[in-house]
Assembly symmetry: C2
Homo-oligomer: 345 residues x 2
C-alpha cells in the first residue's frame, strides 16, 4: 500500500498531472485557468485518495525547505527555553518549522549541523552565542558562511568580532546597575558565581563586575569569583565554597537565575537568611524568579522579543543573501525584588 501521488489523482479524476497541480496551488495565480467542474472533480479525487503533496519533492523543486535550525546551548536553563518558545512561535507564524539541536558537549556536532545547512535540509540557522567563537572549527565555519552566503543569525551577549547577523543583548549596563545597587546598600565584599556551558559566555557580566569593583575601590580578588559549570548544583557548590571562605562576601552575584537558585539553597543550608545575611542577584528574569522565596532580584532582557527579531533577521537574510550584515542591540534592565537588602553590620 503506497501512498497516492499526483499521478494517481490525475488518473482518478481523468485529467493530467499538470491540471492537478494547478488546482491544488493555483489560488495565488491571478487567472483561474480551470473550469469549476474539473476543479471539483480533482478536489474530490484528492479527498478520496487522501492525497497529500510530498513536501520533499516540493522542496527539491522550489529550492527551500521552509525549515530553520535552532541550536540551543543549554537545554537545562529555562532562559534558553523561553528563547526557543518565542522563536518557534514566530517561525510558525511565518510559515516555517524549527529543527531543534541541543549542544551537549559534542562540539563535533556543530559541524554536522552546518553540513545540514549546506545540504539544504534547513534554510537558515539560529544559534546561541558562544558556539561560533568557541568551536575548534569556528574559522572554517565562518569562512563557509561567507563563501556560500549561508543564512546564519547569532544570539549573543556581546558584539561579534566577525561579520555576521547578530542579535546582541548584553548585561553590561545591567551589571553596573547591580553593582551600584549593592554598593548603595553598603556591600563591600561582593562575590560572583560564574558558571557557563561554553567558555566565552557571560563575559558581559564578568568584565563589568571587575571594572566596577575596581572603580569603586572595592576588593575584586579572584577569591571572590567562583568558577563552575552551568547546572544548579554547580551553582550550589560554588556558593558553598564562597560562603565558607574566610572572608565571606555579603552579596553574591550569580551570572544567571538558575545558578542563583543554587546559591539561595546554599545560603539556606548554611543558616544564612536572604537578604538579611546575604544578598543574592541573578540574571535573565526567568519566569520562576518572581515566585522564589525570596523573590529574586535580577536583570531582564524581556523588553525585546527575541523570537520576532531573530526570525525577521534570518528571513531577511534568506531572501537577500547580499544584504549588509546587521547587529541589533537591545539592553537589559535591573529588576529589584526581595533577595537584595542592606549589608549586615
Amino acid at each position: 500500500m503506497k501512498r497516492p501521488t499526483q499521478v494517481d489523482v490525475a488518473k482518478l479524476a481523468g485529467v493530467s498531472r499538470a491540471t492537478v497541480s494547478l488546482v491544488i496551488n493555483g489560488q495565488a495565480d491571478g487567472k483561474v485557468a480551470i473550469s469549476e467542474e474539473t476543479r471539483l472533480r480533482v478536489l474530490k479525487a484528492v479527498d478520496d485518495l487522501g492525497y497529500e503533496p510530498d513536501i520533499r519533492a516540493q522542496a527539491l523543486r522550489s529550492g527551500d525547505t521552509k525549515t530553520i535550525g535552532l541550536i540551543i546551548i543549554d537545554m537545562a536553563n529555562p532562559h534558553y527555553w523561553e528563547h526557543a518558545d518565542g522563536i518557534e512561535q514566530e517561525a510558525r507564524a511565518q510559515g516555517f518549522n524549527v529543527l531543534l539541536f541541543t549542544l551537549s558537549l559534542d562540539r563535533e556536532y556543530v559541524n554536522r549541523i552546518f553540513r545540514d545547512l549546506a545540504g539544504r535540509r534547513i534554510d537558515g540557522l539560529i544559534l546561541s552565542g558562544g558556539i561560533l567563537s568557541e568551536s575548534r572549527d569556528a574559522k572554517k565555519a565562518l569562512a563557509n558562511i561567507h563563501k556560500y552566503r549561508l543564512p546564519v543569525v547569532e544570539l549573543s551577549d556581546r558584539f561579534p568580532d566577525y561579520e555576521l547577523d547578530c542579535l546582541v543583548s548584553d548585561y553590561r549596563l545591567a551589571t553596573a546597575e547591580v553593582i551600584n545597587h549593592l554598593i548603595s546598600l553598603g556591600h563591600q565584599r561582593i562575590g560572583m558565581v560564574y558558571g557557563v556551558a561554553s567558555p566565552a559566555l557571560a563575559l558581559d557580566r564578568l568584565e563589568p563586575y571587575r571594572e566596577c569593583l575596581r572603580h569603586a575601590g572595592l576588593p575584586a580578588d579572584e577569591s571572590l569569583i567562583a568558577y563552575c559549570g552551568p547546572t544548579i548544583d554547580d551553582g550550589y557548590q560554588a556558593a558553598l565554597q564562597l560562603i565558607k571562605s574566610p572572608s565571606r562576601p555579603t552579596a553574591i552575584i550569580a551570572i544567571n537565575d538558575l545558578l542563583a537558585i543554587g546559591v539561595l539553597r546554599a545560603a539556606s543550608d548554611c543558616g544564612l537568611h536572604v537578604p538579611a545575611d546575604l544578598s543574592i542577584v541573578g540574571f535573565d528574569d526567568i519566569c520562576l524568579a518572581n515566585f522564589l522565596t525570596p523573590r529574586l532580584t535580577t536583570a531582564s532582557k524581556k523588553i525585546i522579543s527575541v523570537g520576532r527579531d531573530a526570525i525577521r533577521m534570518i528571513l531577511d537574510r534568506i531572501q537577500n543573501p547580499d544584504l549588509a550584515y546587521r547587529v541589533i542591540y537591545a539592553p537589559a534592565r535591573l529588576i529589584i525584588r526581595e533577595s537584595t537588602g542592606p549589608a549586615p553590620v
Copy 2:
C-alpha cells in the same frame, strides 16, 4: 553563484555522475569498485568545489527524511523540556533530527503537523498526552494514523482507549503514596491545585486523590480542589484561594512541581511556614525541586529514560508499520523531602 551539484564535480574530475555518487557513498558496499586514483580525483574535486550532497534530493530518492517531529504541549514547564532534551539526544544518537512544535492554544495547528507527517516532512511524530484525546479532530487524526500507518508515539499519563503506541507513565500509585504519607502525618484536610494545559491531563492524580480520601473517610469536597491554568501564577492564585478559604487545608497537593512553586510562594505571602503550617507536594521532580527552600516533596518518573524508549518505539514503528501496537508502562515513586511534615495541631 549557484551551489555545486554532482554534475559539476563529475565534470571537474572528468568522470560521470554515477562515479561521483559511488565514491561518496560507496563505503558501505563490500566491493570497492573504484580505482584509488579516480577516487582521489573525485574527492579532490568535491573538496575544491565545496560540494555537499543535497539532502532534499536524497530524501526524495530514499524515501525518508531522518527527521521526527516532537510536539511539546507546554514549553513553560521544565518537565517537558527534560523530555525534549532526552528525546533530542537519543534521536541524534540514532542519526535522526528533531522538528520541534509548540502547542500554544492553537488546536488547529495539530492538523498542520499531521499534514507534515503525511507530506513526509517528518518520518514520525512523538506527542505529549492530551493532544489526541482532546483535539476536536482527534477521531479524524486517529483514523488517518491507522489508515496510512503513520508512525506516531504518544507520551501519556494514562492508558489509551485507542490503538496506538504509547509510553505510559502515570502517578496513580504515587498519588496514593502521597495521600498515605500525608495521612500518616496526621493531615485531615488535603487540598489540590489542579492546573493543566489540556483538559484530560493529570487525571491520574485527580482520580486517585478523590478515591483515596473517600476511602480514608476524609473530606473530599470540591471546595478543596482549585482548578486553574498551567502557569506558576495560576498555581499561585489557586493556592491563595485555597489558603484563604474558611476551612483551610493543612496540606496542598499540586499536580506538578511548577504549580507547587506557586503554592510555596502563596504560603509564604500568607505568612505560613512550610511544612510547619502547611505541607506541599508536587509531581515530576523537576531538576529545581531539590534546590527549592524547602526542598520539595514530589514524585519522580526519572527511573525511566523517556528519550530512549520513545525513540526506540518510533523507530520500530517506522521500520515496521505493521507491528502490533505496544504500550510501555513505567510507574513513578514518591520522594519525600522537606516540604511535608506533621499536620499542625
